[in-house]
Point group: C2
Chain length 360, copies 2
């Protein structure tokens, strides 16, 4: 039986060639053992980590004065670790609040520092991403926090906010879906299971100078990013397979032509689905204002919860999975991360048009 | 080419049937997507987590008044999280210090609480595990900490220390290699990549009452074990594939006849290698006193570093991998975790005898 069209919000679908290579690697990756059974202290894995780091930096255009860490615990552990590591007593931080993920991040940050809001998107129902003129920074926040893509509402920043303060971004749901302006940020973090592989590894890209300035005192090992940098993310046993799959994904990204080519492809994919929604004459409506709609998470809905449910059920019959919106927001959501194929967007677009024709 | 005999200390070898099932699951695990691509919020994964929890509890004989968590970050994150969560200002803890891993755990614990030593094995070169009479507990430690199997030196506790204080055990390198006296402990933790699958997930078994007594105040999400319990370890995206492989390993353990049967098999495996070492008339010597030698990590050495190196090199030619001792201890080490086959122990035993005959 063929694989389904997988629109889930993550862990997301992978390119079939990545899965096939991973299958082979499970049995024997070279030295007589499978990738799951390789010591992180082996020559094989040491080389893998050097190559992963170099390729990750090249693809993302990460300057040499930034450190790259590959950690466990997902983005949610970063919600704790970043304020724990980067703030000091008396500090405060500014948050640009655009939805569920900034809310959760700030709930955790509040255990470590004073959180202020430079913008609150609640009034717009989080369908809006602010212009720079709408953001009011406080005086000398330790850093400014934002979420580059809001996977719940399906809104995405088209470029980072302009600020003279250090900028920290959660890019979990859009990293490497398009070129990144790394220099605009002091820290970027992203879990891998949407655009860079599987659950279990989280990337942290941090400006070396920012890390050094914020972390003068000794800390417990897993909160000591400087030591983690020195140990190339292998202070303890890393999530070896998740790192291997990330390497396969980077190979695939290279094969696609890099981030600029991926952006073209991702824009095409989103446009195929968005224009089908437009074509239904209001039967389906987009969630999110036009200028801030996400390329990764296409949020839309019908006029009723019942019709949304019918859409999800009928789509599943056509082997389109994961189109139900998040339990907090309701509605419909098609997540079309890097690996999701253009062909699947065409199938969904056709289905949207047909569904509106039948039920409209 | 056939797979090698994999004596690495972890991530460790897996049963071939587990690898084969994982290979199939990568392509399609049922709903039209592979196991790497399944949402942790799907019905499939929800069922997997219920089954994993129930099977894990049944196999280990874990009483109902203990909570089980499946977390990320490895045992090393627990070195921070356990003292951060379970101690309060003014508390202290007691450590029974038996080597590298208790040292590292206490280095991290010292950032959160006052650490005292109820026993210090440094004087014995860590070749000794103390009798209860050798341990001097302080007054009212919040908990007593020990490491059940010291993978570096190859020493193992034959039963838990007797104490009236709450007992916390690192079982990363011997969990589920034999039946566990869970009731003797208030908390047990173990990373999975030796006996329970692959790197990326760490099990925490904690007495509910102990957790409640120690954690009255609100905490950031990843430090709130109560909330993690309520969310069945899925507060954020869990390491889905590592959990799936753990389920396959539990199926394999059931197929072997459970922990009592595994203990018989693990004793047989260790005895095969140990008796070969005995047969060399002193050419090889065991590390660790006889009554505290590990079933999991067989530490031994020749009289010289050069001869140890030659042994490792010649063993690799015979496709026996990972026999070099840890860089801190030197010597030789054969790790024979749950999945390591009896046949491989026989091959190593024969090689040990032959090597001593040729070079002795």
């Amino acid at each position: 039986m063929s694989r389904a069209w997988n629109f889930v919000a993550g862990p997301a679908g992978l390119p079939e060639c990545v899965i096939q290579k991973a299958q082979e690697a499970l049995w024997d990756v070279g030295p007589g053992a499978g990738i799951l059974e390789i010591s992180h202290r082996s020559a094989f894995f040491d080389r893998l980590m050097y190559d992963l780091d170099a390729q990750f930096r090249r693809i993302g255009g990460i300057p040499d004065d930034y450190d790259v860490l590959f950690l466990q615990g997902g983005a949610t552990l970063q919600f704790c670790q970043i304020p724990a590591i980067l703030t000091r007593p008396g500090d405060h931080i500014d948050c640009i609040h655009t939805g569920f993920w900034t809310r959760n991040a700030m709930r955790d940050a509040a255990f470590y520092t004073d959180v202020r809001y430079a913008y609150d998107g609640a009034a717009s129902g989080f369908e809006h991403i602010p212009e720079d003129s709408e953001i009011s920074y406080s005086e000398n926040p330790r850093y400014v926090y934002y979420c580059a893509n809001n996977s719940f509402m399906g809104t995405e920043w088209q470029r980072p906010p302009l600020t003279r303060y250090p900028l920290v971004a959660d890019m979990s749901s859009n990293i490497y879906s398009r070129p990144i302006d790394v220099r605009a940020h002091s820290l970027i973090f992203a879990s891998a299971q949407k655009n860079l592989g599987i659950a279990g590894v989280c990337v942290v890209i941090v400006k070396h100078e920012f890390l050094e300035a914020c972390q003068p005192e000794p800390r417990a090992s897993m909160f000591n990013y400087r030591r983690l940098v020195e140990n190339r993310s292998m202070l303890n046993t890393p999530p070896t397979f998740a790192l291997y799959v990330m390497k396969l994904m980077l190979d695939w990204i290279d094969g696609q032509g890099g981030l600029a080519a991926l952006e073209v492809r991702n824009r095409e994919k989103a446009a195929i689905v968005r224009s089908a929604i437009d074509d239904t004459g209001g039967f389906f409506r987009h969630v999110g204002e036009p200028q801030c709609r996400s390329l990764m998470n296409i949020s839309f809905r019908t006029a009723s919860r019942e019709m949304d449910g019918l859409f999800v059920a009928e789509a599943e019959n056509e082997r389109m999975l994961g189109l139900r919106g998040h339990r907090e927001t309701g509605g419909l959501r098609a997540s079309v991360f890097n690996a999701f194929p253009v062909e699947g967007c065409r199938v969904l677009a056709e289905f949207i048009r047909e569904f509106a024709r039948v039920h409209g």
